[in-house]
């Protein structure tokens, strides 16, 4: 009989000890479920809009399409989602070709400024893609071309 009583007491003790444990376990569960964010994490891509020049490149029409890479102007024209690329007037069909070309240039002149000059209708996806490619290649001065407000 004594043995049975002690067994009962143990069972009761265990039951009461389980409640706060389950409590804490559930809280931990909620905590981890919440912290595993369901939203994709956003990253930041710095664009250095005008740090170098103090203004956006606005006189691109006068640029000489020379090939000494004093300044690399990448134009995006044509189709909005998959544009045609022109690096200093040299035509490229895809971003991969531009990447290969920029990698060649960076080996010769790594400090050359890159100016991205998209047409109005070009989607920002390929434009940011080009900024990304320039950064991957190692160019640090990448800026955007924009028409002055009066010209728009």
């Amino acid at each position: 009989m004594r043995v049975t009583r002690s067994y009962r007491a143990d069972a009761l003790d265990m039951n009461s000890a389980m409640t706060p444990m389950i409590d804490v376990v559930f809280l931990l569960l909620i905590f981890f479920v919440w912290t595993i964010s369901f939203q994709a994490i956003e990253r930041l891509l710095p664009s250095n809009v005008s740090r170098e020049a103090g203004k956006l490149e606005s006189n691109l029409e006068d640029l000489d399409p020379e090939v000494d890479f004093e300044r690399i102007v990448v134009r995006l024209t044509g189709d909005a989602a998959s544009p045609q690329y022109r690096v200093n007037e040299q035509v490229f069909g895809s971003a991969a070709e531009v990447r290969a070309f920029l990698q060649t240039i960076v080996a010769i002149k790594p400090d050359a400024p890159v100016v991205i000059h998209p047409d109005d209708q070009i989607e920002i996806g390929p434009v940011v893609g080009l900024l990304d490619i320039s950064r991957q290649c190692g160019f640090s001065k990448v800026s955007f071309a924009a028409k002055p407000p009066s010209a728009r």
Partner: protein, 149 residues
């Protein structure tokens, strides 16, 4: 006087950590949820461009203005629809509230859908330049973390 059993005495003296952990966790969860909801309020759901060299934000305390740009050209700043012409004005208004040092670190973050034509992004860049802001960043997804659209 009846002596208390030794077992009972031990129990009454023991400090129970469980309710304290319970409360602390509840507080953590409360603050997590409230901060998350505040952040979510400012974020318009957009299919951001994808870039490999995007970095995690490091300067979290810098003053910033988040400009949401939808694919149809609509601009949303702080949960408010703003016309293209008013972007420069809004940036200027944000700058007015800051001192010289804060202005130096002021960041404009552009959150735009990847289908947005460049003609809608251009006024934002021009507006930043006119206000003397060089710290302009694009919010992007890394290729691995981009949500399926």
């Amino acid at each position: 006087m009846v002596a208390m059993p030794a077992q009972n005495r031990d129990r009454s003296l023991g400090f129970n950590m469980t309710p304290m952990i319970d409360v602390v966790f509840l507080l953590i969860i409360f603050f997590l949820i409230s901060s998350h909801l505040t952040r979510q309020e400012q974020q318009v759901k957009l299919a951001l461009p994808i870039a490999k060299t995007g970095a995690h934000p490091t300067q979290l305390t810098n003053p910033r203005l988040i400009i949401n740009l939808l694919a149809d050209g609509r601009v949303v700043i702080q949960d408010e629809d703003v016309t293209q012409a008013m972007i420069g004005q809004r940036i200027g208004a944000s700058l007015e509230r800051l001192d010289a040092k804060e202005r130096e670190n002021f960041e404009v973050r552009i959150r735009c859908a990847r289908q947005t034509p460049y003609e809608f992004v251009q006024p934002i860049l021009t507006g930043c330049v006119q206000q003397g802001i060089w710290n302009v960043t694009f919010a992007v997804y890394s290729p691995e973390e981009a949500p399926a659209s």
